[in-house]
């Protein structure tokens, strides 16, 4: 377990090495990046094998940093952190594999990518709210440059919107945290310290502080109606960045909500619980409906990410053991599935066809030209629909159970979202991959080389990446207890229990 902080340091070191390696050749940079990402992932897996689930964070590093302000460099992990750390490892490794074909400024690309990964690892490992905030902000700048430099549609606008929304969200968080910290006497930024400090505020102030911190984090999680940066930004981003952004970085917001916001003020949480839940379910359905109308395949997936994150937020809002554990499971599940979807659309399809318009793709059709991509997209699509057998199902099931216990109306509307998800996913599959040149009167043999368009075959790197992600989603779909056994004990910690109790009438 004590190896875990090395995920951060290793990623940072890898970033520097990749930058230097990029001067020599693009290949050096790629391999450095791959080794770093895989190495960090292996560290998380090693820690996982030795992990003993239990309540409360297990401290990894605790050093005094700014004594006069009570800030400590405090890293710790529990089952929830570990789940997300493993997810980061998977997503980062897959992201590197799917970026194998980047030729321009390769060293800088992977350097920025690895700095982003380091920031993400840092957030999941932080046990001090300020340290968490710092790692959170460290991740913002690489995001901007990854999208602005290597992105596609509308990249400068998308990058700026994403960066500004993220920063605005984190500013709200900073305001709330500083408020609580200052009024509480400035003892420190540990989660328990802040909770204690907030408890001393008046009821209205607690409601305000909670709102600042929660909605600040929730912006990054894509809560309706502060979600508009997500589809634009993710569509603009290059494939690996989209995978990481939609897959992991959005989870930073949800994690912040869970780890920092919820325990901060049970009073505030009790006040905001219903509005948050309703915003979440509205987001699920609304984003799904918007996805149904999209003409660009990547936008469909961008909106589907917002819809899935709505489930996470619903789980957090419902605030019982089932719902929250489901939310964490959904964080993991969606991280893998979103990665898979973006990988197919961005790397396998767009890099070859140079179009993402459903109208164009329909005429190809892709299941004959890129059968592997079609198969992977079908798997990813049905996993995204929440089809049983894949990780989305136990996650959504658990969230629905938890939400039902708190207020059946929430669960009912969310279940509508499941239906809408099926509709837009099937539409995307049908139009994107299984269209036909005209109504197929004489279906030619599948896979025939009679089509004038030829695409380069799917590379080994892409295949490995895809299988990695598919394996993860199937494994957790059939054995969700592997993760639930980590998550459920972690939810027994006193801080989280206080938050859960606040949300249960």
């Amino acid at each position: 377990m004590s190896l875990l902080p090395w995920t951060i340091y290793l990623s940072l070191a890898g970033a520097l090495l990749a930058l230097a390696g990029g001067r020599r050749s693009a290949g050096t940079a790629r391999w450095v990046a791959l080794l770093t990402a895989a190495g960090a992932w292996i560290l998380t897996l090693l820690a996982a094998t030795r992990f003993v689930p239990g309540p409360g964070l297990q401290t990894l590093v605790d050093a005094s940093w700014i004594p006069s302000m009570g800030v400590r460099y405090h890293l710790a992990a529990d089952g929830i952190s570990l789940t997300l750390l493993v997810l980061t490892g998977i997503a980062a490794t897959a992201g590197v594999l799917f970026s194998w074909n980047i030729e321009e400024r390769t060293g800088e690309f992977f350097a920025l990518f690895l700095v982003l990964v380091a920031g993400v690892y840092g957030v999941f490992l932080s046990a001090d709210a300020l340290v968490l905030f710092i790692f959170y902000e460290v991740a913002i700048v690489p995001k901007y440059f990854l999208i602005a430099n290597w992105g596609s549609t509308n990249r400068e606008y998308g990058a700026m919107k994403l960066a500004l929304y993220s920063f605005a969200g984190s500013s709200m968080v900073l305001a709330g945290l500083l408020w609580a910290y200052a009024v509480g006497g400035g003892h420190g930024f540990g989660f328990a310290d802040l909770a204690q400090a907030t408890a001393g505020l008046s009821r209205h102030q607690q409601i305000a502080v909670f709102a600042l911190v929660f909605f600040g984090f929730a912006t990054l999680a894509g809560i309706f109606p502060l979600h508009t940066w997500a589809p634009t930004g993710h569509v603009a981003a290059p494939t690996a960045a989209s995978m990481l952004l939609a897959g992991v970085v959005m989870k930073l917001g949800a994690y912040g909500c869970l780890r920092v916001a919820l325990p901060l003020s049970p009073v505030g949480f009790a006040y905001w619980q219903a509005p948050i839940a309703w915003l979440a379910v509205v987001g699920i359905v609304y984003a799904g409906l918007v996805a149904l109308m999209q003409e660009d395949l990547k936008f469909v997936i961008g909106y589907s990410s917002v819809s899935h994150m709505g489930f996470v937020l619903l789980g957090l809002a419902a605030a019982n053991l089932q719902a929250v554990s489901g939310a964490v499971l959904q964080m993991f599940s969606h991280g893998v599935i979103a990665g898979l979807l973006f990988a197919v659309v961005g790397r396998m399809v767009y890099d070859r066809t140079h179009t993402r318009k459903l109208a164009d793709l329909r005429a190809m059709p892709l299941y004959r030209l890129l059968p592997f991509a079609a198969a992977v997209f079908v798997v990813a699509g049905v996993a995204s629909m929440g089809l049983p057998g894949f990780s989305g199902f136990p996650a959504e099931l658990t969230i629905l159970i938890g939400a039902w216990k708190r207020d059946p109306a929430w669960a009912a509307v969310a279940a509508l979202g499941v239906l809408v998800a099926a509709a837009f996913t099937l539409r995307a599959i049908q139009l994107g991959f299984f269209g036909s040149k005209e109504t197929a009167q004489q279906p030619a043999p599948v896979g025939a080389a009679d089509h004038p368009l030829q695409f380069e075959p799917v590379s080994a790197a892409e295949k490995i990446g895809a299988l990695l992600l598919i394996g993860a989603t199937v494994l957790i779909g059939l054995r969700p207890d592997l993760l639930l056994d980590w998550i459920n004990p972690a939810l027994q910690s006193p801080l989280l229990q206080a938050a859960l109790k606040a949300g249960t009438p």
Binding site: L387, T398, A411, L419, A423, R479
Partner: protein
């Protein structure tokens, strides 16, 4: 109970077959077909093996496998076999190879086709054998994906839309089903069918659901009901069926009508009825009308079709509605004084028999329609044929038997099921039986029309030119079901002995909590 996990083998051997086919991308066409058929035949082989050691007299589950799986959700890997499931497993085992043979040389890319079909077969078997919601629902939903692709990629001109509609409707129903079970789990903490059945019987389930509000037991019932109603399909949720069955390739239509519709009925019998006896009873009268609507209107709609496959599709709606008619009648009559368990037993055994028999007859009929379509070069209208009997007497003979079985002619298997249903329903809810007779007349009418227009009279249309009689392959597909039609018509106890104790137990324990 032997140490071999027979039921797991039943489910997963077809899936292993699919995996084998997937991992051999360059397998030749002939080899693919043979491999797929071999794996598909495993089901009937294993089922017959089970038959040997199946104790008909016991009403509990046999060959049970139960292992801990997901502790946090109290989910267990639970499989079990009783009379009802065994019946359906046998049906699946019979129809699947038939469907594959029906597609023997008629589909392109048989490797992919076989792969998808085996996935579908395994999923269907899983639905019939699983006894815990988690993996039951996995199988239930997973069956949709192969079905979707089978319809879309090998179907007719409207296949894409039909497939899409089929999946969306079914997933829509499943979403409600899921929500219903979410509520059930939230209220009871278990997803195990056996436990839930006992909770439903003594009223605990209803009471627990009602703690959130007194309308919730009804609402949850409605959700679960919708999930199954769409699958069967029960009128008025049936609109996806005619396009899907008509556009699908022949083999797939056979499987859809024979097996997949029974998944819905199975759901009613295994889940909806045991878990919600009270709400079902309360809703029984409207549901009776739905079932009657399906039976009568389905038959009348079939009458008006000119596309042969659509005709048989609507006829399927009609036949399956009889099964549900029986169930709803039993539920409607529950708790009434003077109820005889005899009538209930008759209705229920009729329903089960009808399930099996309809599978056989509808499957055979779809195959015949497929033969006609192939011989006619893609046309399958009622007016495209004439006098086929003189061109292909063997074919006419076998097809005729299938038709009369579907009609319910005494001496063939279809009669027993329908007779028992009517007898039972008459003893429970007489007016429903009276109305259902209309369906019988309509069915007779259109089937005889089919017979007369297509087979009788001077050779016309496609039969005017060359019209080959049945080849060996066709015989291989049609003969087993037809033979069974005869055998079961005369000796229905071959089947009924499997589930009679179960039915008797059900009929004797009709009560409202």
């Amino acid at each position: 109970m032997s140490s071999i996990p027979v039921l797991s083998l039943v489910i997963f051997v077809p899936w292993i077959g699919a995996l084998v086919l997937a991992s051999l991308p360059r397998l030749g066409e002939r080899a693919s077909r043979v491999l797929a058929l071999a794996f598909s035949l495993s089901t009937i082989a294993l089922a017959i093996a089970c038959l040997g050691s199946f104790e008909c007299a016991s009403t509990g589950y046999q060959f049970v496998e139960r292992h801990n799986w997901i502790g946090a959700l109290n989910v267990h890997y639970h499989l079990g076999l009783d009379g009802l499931s065994l019946l359906l497993v046998l049906l699946t085992g019979l129809l699947s190879p038939a469907s594959l043979l029906a597609s023997w040389r008629r589909v392109r890319d048989p490797r992919f086709f076989g792969l998808l079909f085996l996935l579908l077969q395994g999923a269907a078997l899983g639905v019939f054998l699983a006894l815990d919601f988690f993996h039951w629902f996995i199988f239930w939903e997973l069956s949709l994906i192969p079905a979707y692709f089978l319809i879309k990629l090998w179907g007719g001109s409207g296949a894409a839309r039909a497939a899409y509609q089929f999946v969306i409707y079914t997933i829509g129903g499943s979403a409600f089903l899921l929500l219903g079970f979410v509520a059930i789990f939230a209220a009871t903490g278990t997803l195990d069918f056996v436990q839930l059945a006992s909770l439903g019987a003594d009223g605990t389930l209803g009471a627990r659901l009602a703690t959130l509000g007194s309308f919730w037991p009804q609402a949850v019932f409605l959700g679960v009901f919708l999930g199954f109603a769409v699958k069967v399909p029960l009128f008025p949720f049936h609109t996806w069926l005619p396009p899907a069955y008509a556009e699908a390739p022949t083999g797939v239509s056979m499987f859809l009508t024979g097996v997949m519709s029974k998944m819905g009925v199975y759901g009613f019998l295994r889940l909806l009825w045991p878990l919600f006896p009270g709400p079902l009873h309360a809703a029984a009268v409207p549901l009776l009308w739905f079932a009657l609507g399906g039976a009568v209107l389905g038959a009348f709609a079939a009458m008006r079709q000119t596309d042969l496959k659509r005709m048989i599709a609507y006829s399927s709606v009609n036949h399956v509605s009889y099964c549900l008619l029986a169930l709803f009648a039993v539920s409607a009559a529950t708790g009434r004084s003077g109820l005889t368990s005899e009538a209930a037993a008759a209705a229920l055994s009729g329903a089960l028999l009808q399930m099996f028999n309809h599978g056989l007859s509808a499957g055979a009929l779809f195959y015949c329609a497929g033969v006609l379509e192939t011989r006619a070069g893609g046309r399958r209208g009622l007016g495209d044929f004439g006098g086929v009997q003189s061109a292909a007497p063997v074919f006419a003979g076998l097809c005729g038997i299938a038709m009369f079985s579907s009609l319910g002619l005494p001496g063939l298997n279809g009669f027993i099921g329908e007779f028992l249903i009517f007898r039972g329903v008459w003893g429970l809810v007489p007016w429903a039986a009276a109305v259902a007779c209309l369906g019988l007349f309509a069915t007779a009418f259109f089937l005889l029309t089919f017979w007369q227009r297509v087979f009788h009279g001077p050779r016309a249309g496609a039969a005017a030119g060359e019209f080959a009689d049945l080849a060996g392959l066709d015989l291989a597909v049609l003969c087993p079901p037809v033979a069974l039609m005869f055998i079961l018509g005369v000796l229905p106890q071959i089947l009924t002995r499997l589930f009679n104790p179960l039915i008797t137990m059900w009929a004797n324990h009709l009560s409202l909590p």
